[in-house]
Symmetry: C2
Subunit: 244 residues, 2 copies
């Protein structure tokens, strides 16, 4: 059976301007791979209500799970929660359970729960809260969409707790070999191996290191036997390629 | 007048699996911002012919310029050129000008131009070649789509030469200030400034550093006077916020 699928939506002008370099995609991708959930698509879009609502709808319709990052803080440019509610045609308002989390945290720390902070308790009807162990303001899950913060420390904590609740497929095994040849010299034997092992995903990822060309060859499959058969044949062509 | 718009399409299973961390989005985003072209959307998708063709068509229809990275090498999983040709309903084959580039380079370096390397001379009819000063195999531009390599050194060289040919809008000026307060404490004054300066883009980008919350506030506009007016008002609220 095929693995469950997922998409990620990165929300924020600061990513598209190049001012902030995203590191959340790589983190989520690694956690999903470990959980045997296939990340199939990532989109990065600006802080625009309609853009967010449209993208959430498109990704939610197409893939099993959607993960968003960014735009759930207290400032005027934090509009993700309202846009997600719009995508699901669901009312949104300050919700008692989310407000209680904020009240408890801010009282303990002597911080005023002002009107802006209270915006972080705006949660669509029917959504489940996602725990935020770093700064309390929760994320939420509505339908198959998980709405999370963009600050990496918070995003990462939320991803770990959400992914733990999801049912993955068969874990994908992978083996990687380094070939110190330009891709043009290994393409032909590699294509032969790929043709005889069509079930096994075989990727060639070229690099340039110290001015020399090489490629990492990655074999992927959930069945160790099928994987080994493809690797054996690869080894006939490249007996000296070190496994990474 | 509004700036020209752009989108980027990152092609490759290795990005979606988390094995490779993309650094090309950030590079392109910075170059486009410098050129006053607004990057509006990024998509990352897998090495799949139909996915690539569909995404190229969607992004090309919607934005002024499209930049793709990945999948134009010599191996069996390099299918971008054919998928882009399909998106434009254009024939594709080994083209003489691209072949001549490869022949010249490989002869000089004593490398065999085998059938796989020759795949890198597959260029859609009507496309213009993009120079590759690193490893010769060219990218190409067809319609408003610029097809480039995924290896960062090659991607970066291609981006620089392509962006130099594009007409940008009015350069966007930006000023950034650090406020050492949690966003919840600065959201209200910031919203006031934003409300009175609706033309100026004002973003709040929170961070956690040494366990303390803060935010970088970024003001953006092409007009220095409008920018200064918003910044002045911000300064009334936060006189001690250092400019970054």
């Amino acid at each position: 059976m095929a693995n469950p699928t997922a998409a990620m939506l990165v929300i924020g002008d600061e990513i598209l301007s190049g001012r902030t370099k995203d590191i959340n995609v790589g983190f989520l991708a690694e956690r999903l791979t470990e959980a045997a959930i296939d990340l199939k698509e990532v989109r990065m879009i600006s802080d625009d209500h309609q853009e967010i609502a449209d993208a959430v709808r498109a990704l939610s319709d197409r893939w099993d799970h959607v993960f968003t990052s960014g735009g759930i803080g207290p400032t005027h440019d934090d509009i993700t929660a309202d846009a997600v509610a719009a995508a699901f045609d669901t009312p949104i308002d300050v919700r008692d359970d989310a407000r209680a989390l904020l009240v408890g945290h801010y009282q303990k720390n002597g911080i005023t729960l002002n009107e802006n902070r209270l915006r972080m308790a705006r949660i669509p009807d029917g959504a489940d809260l996602i725990d935020n162990p770093v700064s309390v303001a929760p994320g939420f899950t509505i339908g198959n969409v998980n709405v999370m913060a963009g600050v990496p420390a918070v995003f990462q904590a939320m991803v770990v707790s959400v992914v733990a609740t999801l049912q993955g497929g068969a874990p994908i095994l992978s083996r990687t070999f380094r070939v110190d040849l330009p891709e043009g010299d290994l393409a032909s034997p590699l294509a032969e191996v790929a043709k005889r092992h069509t079930d096994v995903s075989i990727g060639s990822y070229p690099f340039i290191r110290d001015g020399r060309f090489g490629a990492n060859i990655v074999f992927r499959h959930s069945d160790a036997g099928l994987l080994a058969a493809a690797v054996d044949e690869f080894h006939d062509f490249f007996p000296e390629a070190p496994e990474l």
